[in-house]
């Protein structure tokens, strides 16, 4: 099987071709602001130099810090509304309460409380109030906010209220990107809500990045399937990645741990990636890697995926 791997870093875009377990060649280009140019350059570079027939490439995998860096640098984030179902509970700590101020400002601190949510045994707290949510949806539309993150008390146990709310909000705010926290996170309201908000504010950018990747693959004549790497060391399909960009967070440390382990044959060791934007130091040892990041600033969150990192990524990021 011939695979091509591409890493879009803050500074460099690198492509590598592998034939089964053998690394054929790698090629380094400069990351472009439009993403496509840099990826095309890296792709065409590695294909030409290796002499591999682009049509023979079975699979392309893209790993990128582009989305993480957008958060770190507070740029290209879509203004987002956080809608939380749980009234009359949860008011002591509104959405984004512990976020750095500049990150709140970057997406706009648009927070809404509504009735709904469930008890720990799945019982409904108060039912979802359609009128209330329609008003919320209309207000969000009026403010021209196009990304909505919905979270609900105990939604990992019962996500019904989130789904209902999602439908009502989609109708009241047509065209909005809606993220349901129960699709991403697990128990821990604030962290799951944060993951949902992070996801919602990145969906525009994720479409840009994935589209750029598609164009670059087409331009290089590569027709195989393509995937993005997520933060548990596995791959996700492009359509899935467009819906859940937040799962690419911290995929770069997992990628370089896997790569370093493969190339060096070392099972227990320290891996240091000195990048253009951040430096990551990881301890690699099965079955879980363990990471520290310096140079990032974010909000606490857990990730839904079976995370290779045994700490929530956000608490690492300067937290």
């Amino acid at each position: 099987m011939i695979r091509i791997g591409i890493d879009v870093g803050g500074t460099h875009t690198v492509a590598a071709i592998m034939e089964d377990d053998r690394v054929v060649l790698s090629f380094k280009a400069v990351t472009s602001t439009d993403v496509t140019t840099g990826v095309t350059e890296a792709l065409t570079g590695v294909i030409e130099k290796s002499g591999v027939d682009p049509k023979s490439i079975d699979l392309g995998a893209l790993g990128t810090t582009h989305l993480t860096n957008a958060v770190v640098q507070r740029r290209d984030l879509t203004p987002t509304a956080a809608v939380r179902l749980g009234l009359p509970a949860t008011q002591a700590l509104p959405p984004m309460v512990d976020w750095p101020l500049d990150l709140q400002e970057a997406i706009g601190a648009h927070a809404y409380f509504a009735h709904g949510g469930h008890e720990f045994d799945g019982r409904e707290i108060p039912p979802v109030n359609a009128d209330e949510l329609r008003k919320v949806g209309k207000d969000i539309a009026r403010k021209r906010i196009r990304a909505i993150a919905v979270s609900s008390v105990f939604s990992p146990i019962n996500s019904e209220d989130e789904r209902k709310a999602g439908e009502i909000l989609a109708e009241a705010s047509p065209g909005a990107d809606i993220t349901l926290s129960s699709d991403i996170g697990r128990i821990g309201l604030l962290e799951r809500e944060n993951a949902g908000i992070m996801n919602a504010c990145l969906r525009d950018l994720s479409r840009v990045v994935i589209d750029a990747f598609r164009k670059a693959l087409d331009a290089s004549g590569v027709s195989g399937r393509f995937f993005l790497t997520q933060n548990d060391g596995t791959l996700m399909g492009a359509a899935f990645a467009e819906r859940f960009p937040v799962l690419t967070f911290a995929s770069d440390p997992t990628n370089f741990i896997r790569g370093a382990a493969f190339l060096s044959g070392v099972k227990d060791g320290i891996v240091i990636d000195v990048g253009g934007t951040t430096t990551d130091v990881c301890i690699e040892g099965s079955p879980r890697g363990h990471c520290r990041r310096r140079g990032g600033r974010g909000a606490n969150q857990f990730s839904h995926a079976r995370c290779v990192l045994d700490r929530p990524w956000g608490r690492l990021a300067g937290g």
């Binding site: 009359p88 008011q91 002591a92 700590l93 707290i125 008390v153 128990i187 604030l190």
Partner: protein, 363 residues
């Protein structure tokens, strides 16, 4: 008397998690709540027990319920104050101060929220000296202060006032009410005089929590071993002895919310020269640590699971397969080790069929 600062709150969140011995709820949420209340303009004033007049009325406040519920159903913020006000009405007197019933976990912060919202000072003392799962497990009760009347209130303002024949039955009824309220509720109980505070409370436990957090933080900032620094500091307090009892990797965690508790166990495979598997039994808090069936530490002494590199205390709900941890055990103050106290919150109080051996005597 001192005013609590933001740095104190950050340190307290860590120290209270340590004293929480795995339970007590995530103080992170409590810390955010105090900060939010302080931001609204409320100050939090901590009083030494000696600063409370003998005839003053002190009404302790707290949260009760499963910590696993608290991380989802965050409070509305009004509940604990509502319980205090209802108890004042019942007693026909206004409170001079509030106080924690539990210095471990989130209950180190709930009275601070009440203080910030009402302007009442908070007495620097509690009745558990750590975290415990049941309301009768208080030095207050052991030494004759009645828990009733008590008030339980939820996010809707529904409340129950409980008068029970003893604190064990008060716990039984209040727990039932709490479960019906969704697994978490806010209480006012053990109202007492300043004289009783001085006689029955474990003193200076909030400032101890702050001190523990500060010690760990400063050690890490100075690139010193934080756990060693902590074990050196503790003998200066009423918690006169502490030691590392295990190092290892978490290989199994079992946890279920049952009857209002987070029940379960954690298994830790030893490394770094520690051979075997330590099993820690949990009922909200870490109760007993055994290796190959042999007891290595037992309640009421503290059993704390700490992250191996950062020394961050790990609460029960955040225990995960693969975590590399250090387990520390600490001696509790003498007021908690009397025969009467051990009946209530020693192994017998948890239906554990093992004798209590003080940690400093376990080889």
């Amino acid at each position: 008397m001192r005013k609590i600062t933001r740095q104190d709150l950050i340190d307290l969140a860590v120290g209270a998690a340590f004293l929480g011995t795995g339970g007590g709820g995530d103080p992170y949420i409590g810390r955010l709540m105090v900060e939010a209340a302080m931001e609204q303009g409320g100050d939090v004033v901590l009083l030494d027990p000696t600063e409370v007049p003998d005839d003053a009325l002190v009404i302790p406040t707290a949260m009760m319920g499963a910590p696993t519920v608290l991380v989802e159903k965050i409070p509305s913020g009004e509940e604990a104050v509502a319980s205090l006000r209802r108890l004042e009405d019942r007693l026909g007197r206004k409170a001079f101060a509030t106080m924690p019933i539990e210095c471990g976990g989130i209950n180190s912060t709930i009275p601070l929220v009440v203080g910030a919202m009402t302007g009442l000072p908070v007495v620097d003392a509690d009745g558990m000296g750590r975290a415990f799962p049941e309301l009768q497990m208080e030095t207050f009760s052991v030494l004759g202060v009645s828990g009733s009347p008590m008030v339980v209130t939820n996010e809707y303002g529904d409340s129950a006032m409980i008068d029970a024949r003893d604190e064990k039955f008060m716990e039984w009824i209040a727990r039932g009410v709490t479960i019906r309220m969704g697994g978490a509720a806010y209480i006012a109980e053990y109202s007492m005089s300043g004289a009783d505070v001085k006689r029955t409370a474990v003193p200076n436990t909030i400032s101890l929590g702050i001190r523990i957090g500060r010690c760990l933080r400063e050690a890490k900032a100075g690139h010193k071993n934080p756990i060693e620094a902590l074990l050196l500091m503790l003998p200066e307090t009423l918690y006169s002895f502490g030691k590392v009892i295990w190092r290892g990797k978490v290989i199994d965690v079992r946890r279920e919310t049952k009857m209002g508790w987070a029940l379960g166990y954690a298994k830790i495979e030893g490394f770094d020269g520690w051979k075997g598997v330590m099993e820690i039994q949990i009922q909200n808090e870490n109760l007993i640590a055994r290796v190959d069936g042999k007891v290595r530490a037992i309640v009421p002494d503290l059993i704390c699971i700490m992250e191996a590199e950062t020394a961050e205390p790990i609460t029960t709900e955040y225990l995960r397969y693969g975590q590399r941890v250090v387990v520390v055990s600490v001696a509790v103050p003498p007021i908690m080790r009397t025969p009467e106290a051990l009946e209530v919150f020693g192994p017998k109080g948890f239906r554990i069929d093992e004798p209590y051996t003080p940690i400093e005597q376990i080889v």
